[in-house]
């Protein structure tokens, strides 16, 4: 999709010919995120029009107890230390950011008085700063007022490397300063088109300065507040047992009128996903269960009981296969898969193209992931195809055979194709996980029909996803021909996400396999466009560049996206929860309510 096409689409949104939702969906289809689409519209003069979040109760309280079930228990309650989603969710009950993202990529103010725009002088023309106006009258749970000092302090806290905050990436290159008690200016080192990162969403939760001031840097782990959060959120802290449960009660001084609805909140953790689904959908013991990584068939059976339903939200996670651009069988200077080598099979574009035709995405979605994933339209550039709801992916064994035949790969006596003495055999690895193994089997079968012999390999998740430099089975080592995993996009802006195909990010021995480019795919043009996009201030031009980058990666067939995975939650009947795939499930906890 070119810049011009994007502009036309935006014009359609402006005149009302295209709905905002349809536009956002189309942007997701070409590999962008909903928040980025929202930013693009905002810059082109279509205001962020967050739909009013429906809320029926007429007074705060009276809702009884709200019971949430996390099959991975919350282990800590400081959002800036949160290693996994579960901890971020737990922290979000108590802490709040300046703004969050709704399902359609709108920024929704939480602790901010308004969303910065050019019209309200929030955004500087040169893209180097953004001014946040803070909501007045907000109190911390201990009664102290919330001011700009807290926001500036949070920046200071997170950016200090010794604090070892996981949110450091959002704060280390920006500068936050207090303008007055309720105004904060965030300045960027270079023009930054994507400004809504620091203080927004997952990594944006604000900490109270008066409780953390003495615990910045190396002392961060000693802060008593790490275990007894004092935030601005809708519920007050009662008790926390790491790895087991969090108890909270209604905050009578919450800064939004008539909220929250529930009197107490109970978050229980542990166990497994299937029984968590049962506890909500079948027995109704709990109101909400997080991250239902359960086969859709089982969820449907449980839902049939009529006690609850499953809520599915599109997110930026993509399950994909990468083909190694380098040769994992040859050792050069003490490392395999060195960039000095080229893969003996995959360096032939015909092989990559054939493999792409042999992946039965539709069946993988239908039979394995069900409603929890969408056969990936992501990374594709033909807008015509996304207009149809049931996007068809080509599984074409004849065509794959023809391509291989034409490229000179001839079938041998054993039915395996070979060329110049190289047999078309490769090893395909992934982590141990039932849906992944089923996917492997489907692809292996199709490849067999085209005369490609695939050997399947499975590695335990804790090894595969580790950063152990001594273990050759980790995914960044990629000492294998092909591998498959799910790449998460925690950041709504693709800038960081797309650095995984840069030539200077290649994972190798020198950087202890810390480099982000695991596939070792490289392209000079890609590098150049990426650098250009970093500086581009025009949101539309920039989006067009990212779409181009996506196309380059996928078009070369080294990266084969399979499915866009959705976030699935289970909700008991009667409960209204406002979930978004671009923020945490708890992002609108204050507006959750129950109807009889």
């Amino acid at each position: 999709m070119q810049e011009r096409e994007l502009r036309n689409l935006i014009a359609d949104v402006k005149t009302g010919q295209l709905s905002r939702r349809a536009f956002v969906q189309r942007m997701i289809a070409v590999g962008l995120t909903a928040p980025l689409a929202g930013m693009m519209l905002a810059q082109s003069g279509v205001p962020m029009a967050a739909a009013e979040i429906p809320y029926k109760p007429t007074k705060a309280g009276g809702g009884g107890v709200l019971k949430l079930l996390y099959w991975q228990a919350v282990t800590l309650l400081n959002p800036h230390f949160a290693i996994g989603t579960k901890d971020q969710e737990g922290s979000r009950i108590f802490y709040e950011p300046l703004a969050g993202w709704d399902a359609e990529g709108n920024l929704v103010a939480v602790l901010a008085a308004e969303i910065p725009t050019k019209d309200n002088d929030g955004l500087a023309e040169d893209g180097r700063s953004v001014v946040w106006k803070l909501k007045r009258g907000v109190k911390w749970h201990d009664g102290k007022p919330f001011t700009a000092d807290d926001v500036v302090f949070t920046w200071e806290y997170a950016r200090t490397p010794e604090t070892a905050a996981v949110s450091i990436g959002s704060y280390k290159d920006v500068k936050a300063e207090k303008v007055d008690d309720f105004t904060v200016r965030v300045t960027f080192a270079k023009p930054t088109p994507y400004w809504a990162d620091a203080f927004v969403g997952v990594y944006g939760m604000i900490l109270p300065k008066h409780l953390f001031a003495d615990y910045i840097g190396a002392k961060s782990r000693d802060a008593p507040t790490n275990l007894k959060p004092v935030g601005t959120g809708p519920y007050l802290f009662v008790d926390f047992k790491p790895g087991d449960m969090v108890l909270a009660k209604r905050n009578p001084d919450y800064h939004v009128a008539n909220r929250p609805y529930f009197d107490t909140l109970e978050v229980k953790g542990g166990g497994d996903a299937v029984s968590a689904a049962r506890a909500v959908l079948q027995t109704g013991e709990y109101d909400y269960a997080w991250n239902m990584q359960v086969e859709d068939e089982i969820l449907q059976k449980l839902e049939a009981g009529g006690k609850g339903r499953v809520n599915i939200n599109l997110s930026g996670n993509v399950e994909f296969i990468m083909l190694n651009a380098t040769d994992p069988a040859v050792e050069v200077d003490g490392e395999r898969a060195s960039v000095k080598t080229r893969h003996p099979l995959f360096s032939d574009p015909a092989v990559r193209q054939a493999i792409n035709l042999l992946i039965d995405r539709a069946s993988i979605q239908k039979f394995i992931y069900g409603r929890a994933a969408v056969a990936s339209a992501n990374f594709l550039n033909n807008p015509e195809r996304f207009r149809s709801k049931n996007t068809k992916f080509e599984l074409n064994i004849e065509k794959a055979n023809a391509i291989l035949e034409a490229a000179g790969w001839k079938k041998g006596a054993d039915g395996i194709r070979a060329k110049d003495g190289k047999a078309l055999k490769f090893v395909y690895q992934t982590s141990i996980n039932a849906p992944r193994q089923k996917t492997q089997a489907i692809i292996k079968q199709a490849c067999q029909k085209a005369g490609i012999d695939v050997e399947l390999k499975q590695v335990v998740g804790s090894v595969f996803f580790s950063s152990d430099t001594a273990n050759p089975d980790t995914y960044p080592h990629f000492y294998c021909d092909a591998q498959m995993y799910n790449t998460t996009m925690p950041q709504p802006d693709p800038q960081i996400f797309m650095n995984q195909y840069l030539s200077w990010e290649i994972a190798n021995k020198e950087n202890k396999w810390q480099g982000r480019n695991v596939s070792r795919w490289q392209n000079k043009e890609y590098d150049a466009i990426y650098k250009q996009a970093e500086q581009e201030l025009d949101a539309v031009k920039r989006a067009a560049m990212y779409i181009k980058l996506n196309d380059m990666v996928v078009g070369d067939n080294y990266i084969q996206p399979l499915l866009a995975r959705s976030r699935v939650a289970a909700l008991k009947n009667g409960l209204t929860a406002h979930l978004s795939g671009w923020d945490m499930d708890m992002w609108q906890l204050a507006n959750w309510y129950r109807e009889a």
Binding site: L76, I83, G169, K241, M245, G270, S462, D468, F497
Partner: protein, 319 residues
């Protein structure tokens, strides 16, 4: 006697040291990385991960890390959890009451079932009662707890809807209501664990009683004209229970160690579920502390069992 205990304690020291060294090295060599989840997250620069590794001293040589751990342990510092960022001892102490309650009650239940059944079965060997008791005992310890646990959940929680299957340590009620709720949620896990243990205890009690009941002094007691209940309770059971007491003493570490699988199924926040969660998160300090405490308990209770044995049976002397 005092000399014997002292000697045993001195022997226990090097074996505990050895155990700790083996545990530590095994954990250090095991694959996995406590900050693995950060590695797949593009928002976190590799420097943060590196800083965290340095902060928690993961990159130092194993021996240095071990000595550091040992020195801290000797000063009563059990370490610091990577995952929860709090002290390990706090984490463990939070879990002890629940485990003591659930596993302790299940042991009591096991004894309450096994003693009368085992004794009665031994008094009438190969009777119908004995056959039935034996059959159930075999079924009992052949069925793993993860199976019986799921079976009970299926029947009592899902089909009948009588009992909750998510265990909560904090129940928001007081007085009788609280006790009732607590009892209700504990029924299934205690039954599963208790009956499993009861099955093997029954077999032990039965064979111990069988050994004793044929001895001459029992015949003498009977021929004196003592009534049967007195013979059994005062003369048979008392002697027969010596090996059983030892067995129970050796089971005590398990009461503290928790029941990993059952705790996981019922979401009981005990030591067992703490251990499994720590293993899954590669939270080495927690794994190390839990397993080491467990090792200490095994050594101590072994010693206790030996001492109790001699006290119960004066024929055994310590030299």
């Amino acid at each position: 006697m005092g000399k014997y205990i002292l000697r045993r304690l001195l022997i226990a020291l090097p074996s505990l040291l050895g155990i700790s060294l083996i545990l530590f090295v095994l954990l250090a060599l095991a694959p996995g990385d406590p900050f693995g989840e950060l590695a797949t997250n593009s928002n976190i620069p590799p420097e943060v991960r590196a800083a965290l590794r340095v902060k928690f001293g993961i990159d130092d040589p194993i021996l240095i890390r071990y000595l550091r751990w040992l020195a801290a342990m000797l000063q009563g510092d059990w370490g610091f959890s990577f995952a929860s960022r709090i002290d390990v001892d706090k984490l463990i102490l939070q879990r002890v009451p629940t485990t003591l309650f659930v596993v302790g009650s299940s042991q009591l239940l096991a004894l309450v079932v096994a003693l009368p059944v085992g004794v009665y079965a031994a008094m009438r060997p190969y009777s119908i009662f004995d056959q039935i008791a034996n059959t159930f005992a075999f079924i009992g310890f052949s069925l793993p707890t993860f199976f019986t646990g799921l079976l009970l959940i299926l029947i009592f929680s899902i089909n009948l809807g009588w009992l909750p299957f998510v265990y909560r340590a904090d129940i928001a009620a007081t007085g009788w209501q609280w006790a009732f709720e607590y009892f209700k949620q504990a029924i299934m896990p205690i039954t599963v664990l208790g009956l499993f243990q009861a099955a093997s205890y029954t077999r032990y009690v039965r064979s111990a009683v069988l050994d004793v009941i044929r001895l001459d002094y029992v015949t003498t007691a009977r021929s004196k004209g003592l009534d049967e209940s007195k013979v059994v309770i005062k003369h048979v059971v008392r002697n027969a229970l010596i090996p059983v007491v030892t067995l129970v003493a050796l089971q005590m570490p398990a009461v503290f160690g928790g029941a990993i699988i059952t705790e996981q199924i019922f979401r009981i926040p005990g030591i067992g579920s703490l251990l499994i969660a720590a293993i899954l998160a590669n939270d080495t300090p927690v794994i190390m502390a839990v397993t080491f405490v467990f090792a200490c308990l095994v050594v101590i209770f072994n010693l206790l069992a030996d001492i109790i044995y001699g006290w119960l049976d004066p024929r055994i002397s310590y030299r």
